[in-house]
């Protein structure tokens, strides 16, 4: 299994029945493929719908129905369309149960940076700032390191998307919860030791006695 698949499968286990979920573009979107068939969640797309289904193919394509990445998608029987104000009312108003998104950096205080690398990349924040402030649970799903460098820091260096909003970090190596005391490791990959995990992580990790292996 490749690292992204491991992450997507593990994130998928976080969803509960009847939740309203918003998935970021890229890796977070993959998690939808791995949700247990007994768990029924409704997906929101911030460009204006709930009940988003799979990508539309062939005669399913309707040019008036796109996702937040501009791709043609389907909508389920429970779905509804609305304007951006309503969409962000759902988001900021606390109606979205879980949002899953990627990060450039995340730190042990739950700070998140994922919208700008000054001087290099300025895509804009889109809906990310509202999503992490408004969703009840914020899960960061990302590779543990980039080019051998930890993406999980003591303190974010890049400009923040929001302060203290991240609840959970899921990488291919570990599942971590942001607590007042710091980053609590809940699960670790069978492929590495606790020492190796800490060596690959800039933030100080809290290792509980009941640490278990990450199952996907």
């Amino acid at each position: 299994m490749n690292p992204k698949e491991i992450i997507a499968k593990r994130v998928a286990k976080e969803f509960e029945n009847n939740q309203l979920v918003n998935l970021g573009i890229g890796l977070p979107t993959l998690t939808a493929n791995y949700i247990d068939k007994d768990i029924k969640v409704t997906f929101q797309s911030e460009n204006g719908m709930v009940g988003m289904g799979k990508l539309a193919v062939d005669d399913e394509i309707k040019t008036d129905i796109t996702n937040a990445g501009g791709q043609f998608v389907t909508i389920g029987d429970e779905g509804a369309f609305f304007d951006t104000s309503m969409s962000f009312g759902l988001i900021r108003g606390g109606h979205v149960d879980v949002t899953v998104l990627g990060a450039l950096e995340v730190d042990q205080h739950g700070n998140l940076a994922n919208w700008i690398v000054p001087g290099k990349m300025v895509p804009g924040m889109g809906g990310a700032m509202d999503l992490v402030v408004g969703a009840k649970k914020v899960i960061v799903a990302m590779l543990h390191t980039v080019k051998g460098k930890s993406k999980i820091l003591k303190d974010c260096v890049l400009p923040l998307t929001a302060k203290g909003v991240v609840d959970m970090i899921i990488t291919e190596l570990a599942v971590m919860e942001v607590t007042k005391e710091g980053l609590l490791v809940k699960e670790i990959s069978e492929s590495i030791s606790v020492k190796e995990l800490q060596d690959m992580t800039d933030a100080k990790l809290i290792i509980p006695e009941n640490l278990v292996y990450m199952k996907v």
């Binding site: 008036d64 501009g70 609305f82 304007d83 900021r92 924040m125 889109g126 700032m129 408004g134 400009p159």
Partner: protein
């Protein structure tokens, strides 16, 4: 007098230095015939307000590529490399606003409100030069209203009084910008006679619409 006019007629409304709001999300819900007309008008130094700058060959993206824009206020510019390039060269001013904040600023402008209070952006670059207000122990940013000279709307089904229905995800910014601009131009995908629409489905009442042009049938 009928509100239904030719694209040539609305071309004369576009002037240099105007502020124009344009509906759409990555081009979905943008009236491309209206964009064509704005390009043909040659109006320059425009301030464009919209969700994003789309792609180089679509919607707002085409105005950026055609160097008609002085400033853009949007939430996302990452899908149009020209926006970033012009910004880095100092030829285009970009004001980034979180998507949920941007739409509420437009709503405030259109609904007669003095601004909105949002927790989004607190503790980030977005809070720079903005007033912070604490309500019941929670910090909010005061975000100010936006208005424009002209709004370019894309309607899926429009009657000849301007009553507008938007299908699917074409709604996005369209219903709000229709309220926040001095002149409202709707590009109709399908144009029908007033009285034939289901009035419970109308999202933009024709009373706020000044001109209707044909995007499609």
């Amino acid at each position: 007098m009928s509100k239904v006019v030719s694209l040539n007629k609305v071309k004369g409304l576009f002037k240099d230095d105007m502020t124009i709001m344009i509906g759409g999300f990555l081009g979905c819900g943008t009236g491309e015939a209206l964009i064509d007309t704005l390009i043909e008008s040659g109006a320059k130094n425009l301030t464009i307000i919209g969700n994003d700058t789309s792609f180089v060959d679509k919607g707002i993206g085409r105005l950026i590529v055609n160097n008609q824009v002085k400033k853009v206020i949007a939430s996302h510019i990452g899908t149009n490399a020209e926006t970033g390039r012009l910004m880095n060269e100092g030829k285009l001013e970009v004001e980034l606003s979180p998507q949920g904040t941007l739409i509420e600023r437009v709503r405030a402008g259109g609904f007669g409100l003095g601004g909105i209070l949002t927790p989004t952006g607190v503790g980030t670059l977005v809070e720079e030069n903005k007033e912070k207000i604490t309500v019941e122990g929670v910090e909010y940013l005061l975000e100010l209203p936006l208005r424009a000279n002209i709004a370019l709307i894309k309607g899926s089904v429009v009657d000849d009084f301007g009553n507008t229905i938007y299908k699917g995800t074409t709604k996005n910014f369209n219903p709000m910008i229709a309220m926040a601009s001095d002149i409202v131009i709707v590009g109709s995908q399908t144009l029908v006679e007033a009285g034939t629409l289901n009035k419970d489905m109308i999202m933009t009442p024709g009373v706020v619409v000044d001109y209707i042009v044909r995007e499609g049938k």
